[in-house]
Amino acid sequence: MAKFPSHEWIALFQEELNKNAAYEDSARTWEGDFIFVVEPDGPIASRQAFYLDLFHGKCREARLLTNPEERSAAYSYAGTYSNWKRLIQGELDPLKALMGGQFKLKGNMMKIMRYTRAAKELVNTASRVPTEFQ
């Protein structure tokens, strides 16, 4: 069990993602890093961010940033803590959540639209991480 968001959680996520054959298949040609931003609300008082280096179906690096502005990436996917919780619990679809405005995505849209299956697998993986919400 790992608290979300935390160093332990992102480490477990990376481990799960690298075991996920469906993700590997769907993202086998993907190259691009991500920042997942957790905006404060509910029990979370400050902005937090994860950095993920996703390359050819694998996650080469994943860590909680000490300072959310510490680095940039090709894409950022941002939502409030409550919406991250709903996403991880499978109550939100990652793409519908973008269209409904619960999440914001920055980066090259046309490229990412060809990898919607990979996006779905990323979220499915997150819901497999034994997560404790605060």
Partner: protein, 386 residues
Amino acid sequence: MWFFTSPRLVFGPGSIEFLASLQARRALLICDRELARRGVPARVEEHLRTGGGEVRLFAEVDPEPKVSTVERALTAAKEFQPDVIVGLGGGSTLDVAKATYALYERPDLGLMDLHPLTDMTLGQRAILVGIPTTSGTGSEATWAVVLTEGEGGRKLELAHRELVPRWAILDPDLAATMPPKVTTDTAADALCHSVEAIASDWSNPFSDAYAKQAVEILMEELPRTTGAKGVPSPTRESLHYAATMGGLAFGNAQVGIAHAMAHALGSKFPVPHGRASGLFLPYSVEFNFDAARERYQKLRSALGAPHVASGHALADRIRTLWDQVGMSRTIPQALPISAPDFEKALPDLVSRADQSTCVSSNPRVPTTAELERLFRAAWNGTRVDF
């Protein structure tokens, strides 16, 4: 949180006369070459001119329209400065009209910006009217635009809520200009939209209502299109409305892998879109059924309980309909390509289907290996048992 988006619908025989009430000052009428050859645009122009307005015809849309067609239509729009843009034709023409309208309204944007996350409000310079002359694509009612990047290129799947036309005019008299094979192909597409919308992960009570109604009408009316005397008027009218209902269903709930596969096949080979989506539908139903059993049960009243008891039963019900109306059941029936050509194209077909936006809302997301098996099943005409 989700949305239901719809154009304002005007329907009924002769309903194109509604165009006069728009009082267009300058109307750009976008249609395809074939329709122009048959003199159909003149019937529409007449009503647009009633209010004293000027009409310019852009009749350069071909099947499987390319990005370059939109560029030419946009040049015409920029020169003419219309306050009404009318798309008259099948899905290809309506898609060109929708993309042209968006870029005319927002010259700072490019085609690649026409995705759901772009912040844009249209309707400042012109209004968009969609008038379908086929009964199937539902494009007059949806937010989607499909264009081809270039000869043999990928399909660009563009979408934005603002691309839904302000008005859709459903005049069944215009559909009477369709050749019989086009009637079948486009109706097959409408059935595919409706069944895929029911099964979609994004389905919702509003899209379900239209999808169920469309399936019921299509199942009942399609077999009546094959008589020696041609399509009876009431059937023509019902099919025309059912197609828009199918559009409202999938436009608000997404399509699935039958469309991902159809877009891939259509990008590699010259096959009418509806023939491709229709042929893949039974295979996709067999593949999806266990993952969306409850959703398919919503078709019980339209089809009868035995036909929604299993994936094979539902697929066979569709195959029976396809046989009744002369629809293709396999890839070789749909287009004349050799087995070696198919094998050569297969890796591309799989990769293009895999990267389609239609895949992720499908109730069962296929791996690339499963997509390959699905294409092979559709080539051989075998059941999907995996």
